[in-house]
Symmetry: C2
Subunit: 384 residues, 2 copies
Amino acid sequence: MTGEFTALPDIEPARLEIIKTQSPRPPPPASNLVFGHTFTDHMLTVPWSARTGWDTPKILPYGPLSLPPSSSILHYAQTVFEGMKAYRDENGKVTLFRPDMNMKRMNTSAQRVALPTFNGDALLYLIKELIRLDKHWIPQQTGYSLYVRPTMIATEAAIGIHPPADALLFVICSPVGPYYPRGFQPVGLYGTTEYVRAAPGGTGAYKLGANYAPGVVAQKMAAKLGYEQNLWLYGPEHNLTEVGTMNLFVVFKTDDGSLELVTPPLDGMILPGVTRDSVLALAKDHASGKYKISGLGDKLVVSERPVTMKEVKDASQSGSLVELFGTGTAAVISPVNRIGYLGEDVNIPTGPDGMGPVSKPIWQELVGRQMGTIPSDWSVLVTE
Amino acid sequence: MTGEFTALPDIEPARLEIIKTQSPRPPPPASNLVFGHTFTDHMLTVPWSARTGWDTPKILPYGPLSLPPSSSILHYAQTVFEGMKAYRDENGKVTLFRPDMNMKRMNTSAQRVALPTFNGDALLYLIKELIRLDKHWIPQQTGYSLYVRPTMIATEAAIGIHPPADALLFVICSPVGPYYPRGFQPVGLYGTTEYVRAAPGGTGAYKLGANYAPGVVAQKMAAKLGYEQNLWLYGPEHNLTEVGTMNLFVVFKTDDGSLELVTPPLDGMILPGVTRDSVLALAKDHASGKYKISGLGDKLVVSERPVTMKEVKDASQSGSLVELFGTGTAAVISPVNRIGYLGEDVNIPTGPDGMGPVSKPIWQELVGRQMGTIPSDWSVLVTE
């Protein structure tokens, strides 16, 4: 993946230097956690320069970065990031969920904004070292985890627009609670027709900071109108693309009594989510009979195809709409109960405990694999 | 412009604190300057928080910012910026060019990414203070100036996507030389069909960092193919929208012998450039007879309308294409001599000294007003 930087040093785990904090903090009680506000004692940094390649990786006490005001990230938004979770079970065993997918995507994102690429296995090795050092920060309660945030920014101290000569990769970790502390709460979405999240030839398929800043006003508008999230629509047919910062799935009942699980295809405008990929893989294996998921009906069809608001609205009216949900690392699965669309609400069925007949068994399977209660290749050991 | 933040303190120039550097540096020889690499002795900072509004403005020694690694700018790219130039004449008089336009646009940009707005006059007052303090850094030679870069970033120390609770507005200054030190050099453009700069419902009309990071790969591709810049095309007709980071003008000869000066309309995808606006205003005043520009022909029509590659290509072949140029604060006017489009080059006429019959007289008028040799309201006094 190093491409044109091949001749220069890649990230080298053997060079890792660890400087431990002199003032370790006690992790706060798990019940006090607010998503993304608390960080562990240490962070990982790996600087890069176009002239000398990837420099010494360091695990350091968590603390501020010193950036010249001319740093290109501050002006031209060259930043890419990832979000992944580490889980700790009652025996202290720590695992990550499909971290190879995040390493791969971070490289793809970096290339899109002319940031340097790197050996994903090497970075993953370093991330595991960081997690091991701060593993006592991972709450052990069900639904809790350590949110791991790898980020890469352009740090060249010059205001010109070109591939940056300097960059910094850093990883910080935040202990987080369950997205739904009081059980699943379906959310209402505002179907956004005022703004777009992505367009053909744009950057929707990459995890760039630049995709997020413009989305805040759409969320703000949704909140003002009484909806929890916004639904990104695209094109003259108002194709459903993503939910806030999540991928999206819809379930329809078909004429022959089957259930069709639909998600928009990776057409360049959709983020290739790890949870999206996992839901699809589980559902496809179930549909093909390769691996049956307990509680999920036999007649399941899995489609990656465009879905429009007209189709969803018609299905809602005719009774063939079964459920609609978002997927992402933070919430895993987020059921939806209504969509505010062009002045009226389209109602979405939800099950008695929030989730529907497809999302619930898939969620159980997925969370079991994430927590390690259901053994799978997707769970990667950090420490026993 | 303060909108929902009305009740909280706005930027208050009376609260300005100035801490001068203890180690002033000698400005480098003007001939050594590389765009955006050298910064003056001081910078301006104004912090903001959602709870307490705009805080004490400070002029401080130029130096690094200390940012928590969780700062939202580093993850979600909430940054807006401006670019403006201060000129110093042989008598030491310093002026800015239409800075009110930049203050207004910075507020419009901030709103688009849920950053706070502010009193533009107040910020301009502070910027003038900063420039006065570092005015000896402005080279006096013709074509040289001080590039002033106001920037606002989200600094909230939490990784959640929402309107930021904290922000920092800062202004840095960089002495710069003429864009074309050896006279005008027309550039070749690569017509980009692989990427888009903006889309309807997107952010093309705002000066956001998020618009720039994704453009670097298009520039990189253009350079690889032997072109100096890329030309942003949009839609099935390949409408010409912008040139790299500049606005764009085309001049056609019409059947009745008039010249038509065309630029794409402000349809939400085009940055409302200060130079674009100035070129349009000058050309319109000339066309209407309100203010005649020396050397510019009488039969001039000024249009803000879409222009497609087919129109440009046909005009190139029929001989009715007169010239094509980019406009921006850095280069002022940048003539183009060819466009690489779908595998072939479309040739663009250029005058003997690079510029054409419309751009040259307009450039002379514009630069005269910027440098203060032609008196106008557009030139705003910083210090005598």
